[in-house]
C-alpha cells in the first residue's frame, strides 16, 4: 500500500507545484500542498498498517506477527551438528579457525576413541567468541565435514561477556534445537516477512 502511494505521487506530473511562479497565489502559498500533506498523515493515522514487528521475547517465534522472520541466507548464531552416533561431527581439522578473519574460534583437539573409524581426532574444547565474531560465515564454508553452521537466530542475548563465549556444550545444544526445527527460517516467498495489520 505504501509503495503504491509513493508511486502514484511520482506518476502524476501534472499537479501544481508551489515553486512555479506562474501558479496562483493560493498554490504558491503552499496551502493546497499543506492540506494534501495533512490529509496524507491523517490517512496514515487512521488506516495505516504497522510496518514494524513488536519484539516479544515470550511469543511464538514462528509467528511472523510476533517475530521478525529473517530472509534466506541470513547468518546468525552458530551451532555444531552431531553425526549418526549422536557425537559431535567436528573432526578438529582447524579449517574453520584458520578461515576465521576475526580469530574468534578456539579449538583444542584430542585423539578420537579407537572405535571411531571415520576420524583420527575430535575436539576437546571448541569455543566461539561471539563478541569477536563478525558473522561472515567463512567457518561454515570452510568446514570439510559440514559440522558447523550458522542459524537464523538474530536475537543473541547475554548479560555478561562470559556468556557470549559459546563452548561446545552450548553449540551442540543449539544444534539439537536447530535439528528439531525450532529455529526460525525465512518466511515463504517474502524477503522481508509479511506485514501485520494489527494495532495495540
Amino acid at each position: 500500500m505504501v509503495a503504491a502511494d509513493q508511486h502514484s505521487d511520482h506518476a502524476s506530473q501534472s499537479q501544481p507545484t508551489p515553486d512555479d511562479p506562474t501558479e496562483s497565489l493560493w498554490v504558491q502559498a503552499y496551502i493546497p500542498a499543506i492540506v494534501k500533506g495533512l490529509a496524507n498523515t491523517l490517512r496514515r493515522i487512521v488506516f495505516s498498517d504497522r510496518f514494524t514487528i513488536e519484539y516479544d521475547g515470550t511469543g511464538d517465534k514462528s509467528d511472523p506477527k510476533k517475530h521478525y522472520q529473517t530472509r534466506e541466507g541470513y547468518r546468525g548464531e552458530h551451532y555444531l551438528k552431531r553425526d549418526e552416533r549422536g557425537e559431535v561431527k567436528c573432526v578438529a581439522c582447524f579449517m574453520c579457525a584458520a578461515a576465521c578473519p576475526a580469530v574468534c574460534i578456539h579449538i583444542e583437539a584430542e585423539d578420537a576413541p579407537d572405535d571411531w573409524p571415520d576420524r583420527d581426532k575430535r575436539p576437546k574444547r571448541f569455543e566461539i567468541d561471539l563478541l569477536r565474531c563478525i558473522y561472515c560465515g567463512y567457518c561454515e564454508e570452510a568446514c570439510p565435514v559440514d559440522a558447523i553452521a550458522l542459524s537464523k537466530t538474530y536475537n543473541i542475548i547475554a548479560t555478561t561477556r562470559e556468556q557470549k563465549v559459546y563452548d561446545m556444550r552450548k553449540l551442540l545444544e543449539l544444534g539439537d534445537r536447530e535439528a528439531k526445527g525450532k529455529s526460525i527460517g525465512p518466511a515463504e516467498g517474502d524477503r522481508r516477512g509479511p506485514r501485520p495489520t494489527m494495532r495495540g
Binding site: 496514515r44 495505516s48 504497522r50 514494524t52 495495540g200
Partner: protein, 368 residues
C-alpha cells in the same frame, strides 16, 4: 462570605484551572509519540500498562503509563552542569521556559460563568478561570513573551556553540513573530471591543464565532502561523534544529532540567491552543447553547456550565491534535525563509486585515 463560599468561589476554579497545565502535557507526550508512530507506520510506546488492570482486557490502548516511566527516568538521571556554564542562568533558564505558560492559563476562561449565591445572599459569577482581569489578553501576551528568556538564557549559559546558535535563532524568531501575532490579534480586539477573554468569548457567543467572518479567518490563519513559531514547533523549530544543531538551546541540558524545557513546550502549546479557541472559535460556546433571554449569561444551570467545559476541551484537543500532526507532516523552514515569511508575509497581511477590518466596521456603523 463564609469559608464554604471561599472554597466555591475561589479555591475550586483555581484548582480546576491549575490541573489543566499540570496534567495535560502528560497525556500530550503520550499522544504525540503515538500519533508520530502511526504516521510513520510504527507501533509507538505500548509496553507500560497500568499495574493490576493492564489494558483492561483490550479496552485501553497500550503504553498509557509511558509518560510516568519517562518522568521517573528524567528524575533519576544524572544532572550534568557543563563545567564552564554560567551556573545561575543555566539553572534559571528551565524555569523561564516552564513558568510563563503556566501563568498564562490563569486568565483563560474554560467555562461560561455560573451564578453562585453565597450564604449572605450575594451572587458571584464563578467560571473555570483563575482570574478575570480586564487586560486578560494583554496579560497573556506579556507573560508568554517571557518564555523567550528561557531559550535565550539556556543557550547563552550553556557555553556551547550549538546552544548559542539555537537560542540566537529562536530569540530572533520569537521576537519577529510576536509583531505579527500582536497585529493579528488587534483585529479581534477591534471587533469585540474587549481585552477581557470572558468578554471576547461572550461576544462571539452572541455574534457568531470570529473565525467565521472573512477578516476573522485570515487573522486566525496569521495567528496560527505565529503561534506555531512562538512555540518553536515544527515547521518553525529553529531553536532545536536536530539535523544541524544537535538539540539547539537545550543541547547541554540533562535530566529534569531538560524535562522542564520539554514540559514547558507542551504547556505553551496547550496555552496557545486555548487562546486560539477562546479568541477565534468561540471558546466554550457551541450552537444550541444560547442564554436564557430573561436572565442573560450569568444564570445557567451547573450542568450547562460543566457542558461548556467539555466543549472548550473538545475544541482544545482539535488544536493540540493539529499541532502534533503538523509537526510530523511539514519539514522545517530554512532560517531565511522563516524571516521572509514573518516580515514579508505575516506582518503585511496582518496590517491589511486590520485596515480592512477598520474600514468595514466604520462602514457598518455609518461613519463614512
Amino acid at each position: 462570605m463564609s469559608w464554604v463560599d471561599y472554597i466555591f468561589v475561589y479555591a475550586i476554579p483555581l484548582i480546576a484551572v491549575l490541573m489543566v497545565p499540570m496534567n495535560l502535557p502528560v497525556g500530550l507526550i503520550y499522544l504525540e509519540r503515538r500519533i508520530c508512530a502511526f504516521i510513520q507506520d510504527r507501533a509507538g510506546p505500548n509496553r507500560v500498562d497500568f499495574p493490576l488492570i493492564g489494558r483492561a482486557g483490550g479496552l485501553l490502548p497500550g503504553g498509557l503509563l509511558q509518560p510516568m516511566a519517562d518522568a521517573i527516568k528524567l528524575l533519576t538521571k544524572e544532572d550534568i552542569t557543563p563545567a564552564r556554564a554560567d551556573k545561575v542562568l543555566f539553572n534559571l533558564a528551565p524555569l523561564f521556559s516552564l513558568v510563563p505558560p503556566f501563568v498564562a492559563f490563569a486568565v483563560i476562561p474554560f467555562s461560561r460563568p455560573y451564578a453562585y449565591t453565597d450564604t449572605a445572599g450575594a451572587v458571584h459569577p464563578v467560571a473555570m478561570q483563575a482570574a478575570n482581569p480586564e487586560i486578560g489578553m494583554l496579560f497573556i501576551l506579556a507573560v508568554l513573551s517571557l518564555s523567550a528568556y528561557g531559550i535565550a538564557f539556556g543557550g547563552w549559559a550553556s557555553n556551547s556553540r550549538y546552544s548559542l546558535l539555537g537560542s540566537l535563532r529562536a530569540s530572533a524568531q520569537m521576537i519577529s513573530y510576536e509583531v505579527g501575532m500582536g497585529l493579528a490579534l488587534l483585529s479581534v480586539f477591534m471587533m469585540t471591543g474587549a481585552l477581557n477573554l470572558q468578554d471576547i468569548v461572550t461576544y462571539q457567543a452572541e455574534h457568531g464565532w470570529y473565525v467565521l467572518t472573512l477578516p476573522g479567518a485570515l487573522a486566525f490563519l496569521m495567528f496560527m502561523i505565529c503561534a506555531f513559531a512562538e512555540n518553536n514547533r515544527l515547521p518553525f523549530d529553529m531553536s532545536e534544529c536536530e539535523s544541524e544543531l544537535v538539540g539547539g538551546f537545550h543541547t547541554e541540558y540533562s535530566a529534569m532540567k531538560f524535562g522542564m524545557f520539554f514540559q514547558g513546550e507542551y504547556i505553551a502549546m496547550t496555552a496557545m491552543s486555548a487562546i486560539m479557541v477562546a479568541l477565534f472559535f468561540g471558546g466554550w460556546h457551541i450552537w444550541g447553547m444560547e442564554p436564557n433571554p430573561a436572565t442573560g449569561w450569568a444564570a445557567s444551570s451547573l450542568w450547562v456550565v460543566l457542558f461548556s467545559i467539555a466543549v472548550f476541551f473538545g475544541k482544545l484537543l482539535v488544536f493540540i491534535w493539529l499541532y502534533i500532526q503538523v509537526r510530523w507532516t511539514l519539514p522545517r523552514f530554512r532560517y531565511d525563509q522563516l524571516m521572509d515569511l514573518g516580515w514579508k508575509g505575516v506582518i503585511p497581511i496582518s496590517i491589511g486585515i486590520l485596515v480592512f477590518q477598520a474600514i468595514w466596521l466604520a462602514w457598518k456603523e455609518g461613519n463614512f
